[in-house]
Symmetry: C2
Subunit: 488 residues, 2 copies
């Protein structure tokens, strides 16, 4: 333990990034370290689990939290345990717990009405709605996109993005539907409800409502017993690590997947279920933190264009700065990266951007009661201010490099336990040798004050907030090293 | 106009309800009448429409609102027009705008953290989560239900309610799926993703995500161009009004529909797409405010039981007190009204209750990132306090009787324009002779300070908040009478 700890300090001193950070102190409002009082879940959490179990399935609950006492990167539980949180509510807390800037939004009397009167945004928007969209969501719009639709959550965002692509694909212009289309659509039949499809990738996660779920292929438990659509599913590249040792193999693997995409598009067209859109994550998250090269995405985008399919990039987990750029797809370096980009989680509101061409022809085609929530837009505006003011994308880039370097060191140190360290920004992951070992490492780390998430079959995923500094990286690596040293 | 106005006053004096209300003044915080400065939308709204039109389709936007200045039953727009609002953000504002009790929730410093730190409720609930569920949602649980799952919106509530019924229908107990089921579900194929169906009714509205949309059959514009499922659709009774003159015909019509339901269940079982659940609204809202008798619902519930289908009552629009009882289905007088009851809108959070038998066997089967929003539960708790303290269910019953009586009077007065006045509580509606007349009445009324909603082909629907008093009923009726008198 001492040896590795020393190693990290050395690494820190050797890095131009860390020396910078050393001059900055962690924000005053934050704690400085984990502090554990009980095993997790502790006795209070266990009692609450019993109570909640009378009302809901609690099999997925880790522990109960004291959000009032949580600060920055540290999550405090009801038993008084304070953990370094690198899972951040399934990657949905952008700038840590109880950030002072967000507290101020709440205590500003001008904002009260926005929280108390949730409008039906599609029919009766508030006066400041266009301004708020411009200052928040449009200020971070992906390249080529000036239109955005807010939604309440990630699933609704993707469901409505799919609908937008289906509507676009039918190329109605402003022509009215035929009588037959009107009649058949009311009873779920073609041609009113056409047999269109969305092409997705094995290992993908795009949500759990029935439309989204038909494009989700990460874990059986998500899909079992739920009816689905016969839509095409392409393989996602399985890259071999370290990347620099498998350049040729990985390029071949990506080419194989792209070829399969084109085959499926042709096949489904022949089946009479043409592909209206292709949906993909810049990094498959829930499916196991699977990466592909910018070249893969660039070629995929061209295939979509060639075959007249809309190209939908799902940034629900990758968006919001966690990869070191605001959107994961920015790493591809394309001017025209997508036709639709959906978001949620760290953006606090769900929604999707789209190119002008995908504008629905009529009102009420994309619609629901709330169409988002302006109180979430208020918080988002402030989050964006903080990201700019505190240069958080740079922080993420720096911390991400330190984290990935640390993971490389750990897998070198423990090659029989760890492999495939990978990441972009702080969106990092590492594989354990099997799921039981992964789970055991996670529980032991939690009891030492480090709360991590899992994904895929045997992967640990790191999803810290954007305020995760190199200081926190070293805390993380030291705890992980402790656990691994004991495991050895 | 004077004549009818007098008539309403007479009615008011003659009613035991009104005499009571007369002693109460409208809450101090509210305005006392509409006040119009421009036609609606006014110049400021029109300019904002232009701005928002650059970002979104604004074809459904009526006008822009000044929510800060809105109070109780009165919605103020950006041009300073103050309207009596009987549409309440598509029936989603429970106790009027800027209710002082809700303002207090916002200014209570103990609540700040709940707004600022939105948790992933399925894995890391806050300490007070079980207590908050017990004091809010479980305190109003439908008969026979002790389990509730929150969700972010109405569509997600219904999507997950459907999933819950599919999972229940497969009767796994706690047995693991077969290897074949695991493998096939990952690629959207049977038996892992089985060909199960949900039976819905023509005219129904259950949401717009792809699963919900397969059970929605209210308007073509909702469904056109979106792929769907081959699920059975039964006719919903078309009752003739006045009900007392068509007792026999309506009973026959309901029997016909029930017979068709049984036929469809058998037919779809034979097709290999068995009906896992039946979903129905207590009053079809979006589809045109279509009612059926308690006897119809009672027999339908029995049919569901007989054929082993789950019975899902969608209370997204009828729930929350607007019918004079907290749930629309309470009017049926059944001890065991449903297996699943979904809600949203006036309850501020989405979600669904279900009977113990429908408890999912494993974690992560019903799951998403947020699983609701505790800040909405905070508001709901306070709304329920206000409903109890101010006896709002009685207020709704009284105001509803006055409103329906007034609509009867109007349709007697204007039989060539209006017909089929109907309602339960303040959940009332009346038909115009055609859609153009309906739309024209609504626009004229809006310019006189009365904002109403439409549904179905030619129906005006009334969806006031629960704080809508008889005083407001008379304002509504007087404006409507003015418009009709001019129309004549």
């Amino acid at each position: 333990f001492c040896k590795l700890s020393y190693l990290f300090i050395n690494f820190a001193l050797g890095s131009r990034y860390v020396s910078k950070t050393a001059t900055k102190s962690v924000s005053e409002f934050e704690y400085d370290a984990p502090s554990m009082k009980t095993a997790v879940p502790g006795p209070k959490s266990q009692e609450l689990l019993r109570q909640l179990g009378e009302i809901q399935n609690v099999g997925a609950v880790h522990f109960f939290c004291n959000y009032e006492e949580s600060r920055g990167n540290y999550l405090v539980d009801v038993d008084g345990n304070r953990m370094l949180d690198v899972y951040t509510q399934i990657s949905s807390i952008p700038i840590g717990y109880n950030h002072p800037a967000l507290m101020k939004v709440m205590t500003n009397p001008n904002n009260v009405s926005t929280f108390v009167n949730r409008p039906a945004l599609g029919i009766l928007p508030p006066e400041n709605f266009p301004d708020k969209l411009i200052e928040s969501l449009l200020s971070i719009a992906p390249s080529g996109m000036r239109r955005v639709q807010t939604m309440a959550c990630g699933s609704c965002s993707n469901e409505n993005a799919f609908k937008t692509m289906f509507i676009w694909y039918r190329e109605r212009g402003y022509a009215n539907p035929s009588e037959q289309e009107v009649d058949t659509c009311m009873i779920n039949q073609s041609p009113g409800c056409p047999d269109l499809s969305i092409l997705s990738f094995m290992g993908a996660f795009h949500g759990r409502t029935l439309g989204c779920l038909a494009t989700t292929h990460s874990k059986a438990i998500h899909k079992l017993d739920i009816p689905s659509f016969d839509w095409p599913i392409a393989p996602f590249p399985k890259l071999q690590y370290p990347l620099e040792e498998f350049v040729r193999e990985n390029a071949q693997e990506e080419a194989r997947c792209l070829e399969e995409v084109e085959d499926l598009i042709v096949k489904w067209r022949q089946k009479g279920k043409p592909v209206a859109g292709i949906v993909i994550e810049p990094i498959q998250a829930e499916g196991g933190d699977n990466h592909a090269s910018p070249d893969f995405f660039s070629k995929l985008r061209n295939i979509a264009r060639k075959h007249g399919c809309a190209f939908h990039v799902d940034e629900v987990q990758t968006g919001g700065g966690t990869t070191g750029k605001f959107w994961g797809h920015e790493h591809w370096g394309l001017d025209d990266p997508a036709d639709v980009v959906s978001f949620s989680k760290k953006l606090l509101t769900g929604g999707y951007y789209h190119r002008d061409e995908l504008k629905p022809d009529k009102p009420y085609r994309i619609f629901n009661t709330w169409m988002g929530d302006p109180s979430k837009n208020l918080f988002l505006s402030e989050v964006l201010n903080v990201i700019r003011r505190e240069n958080l994308l740079e922080v993420v880039t720096r911390s991400g490099k330190a984290l990935l370097q640390g993971l490389y060191t750990l897998q070198t140190q423990y090659p029989h336990i760890l492999s495939r360290a990978r990441g972009q920004g702080t969106f990092c992951a590492i594989d354990a040798c099997n799921d039981a070992t992964r789970d055991s490492i996670m529980i032991k780390a939690r009891n030492k004050g480090l709360f991590m998430g899992s994904c895929g079959e045997k992967t640990i995923r790191f999803r810290p907030a954007l305020v995760f500094k190199e200081y926190h990286v070293h805390q993380l690596l030291n705890i992980l090293n402790d656990v691994l040293a004991e495991h050895k």
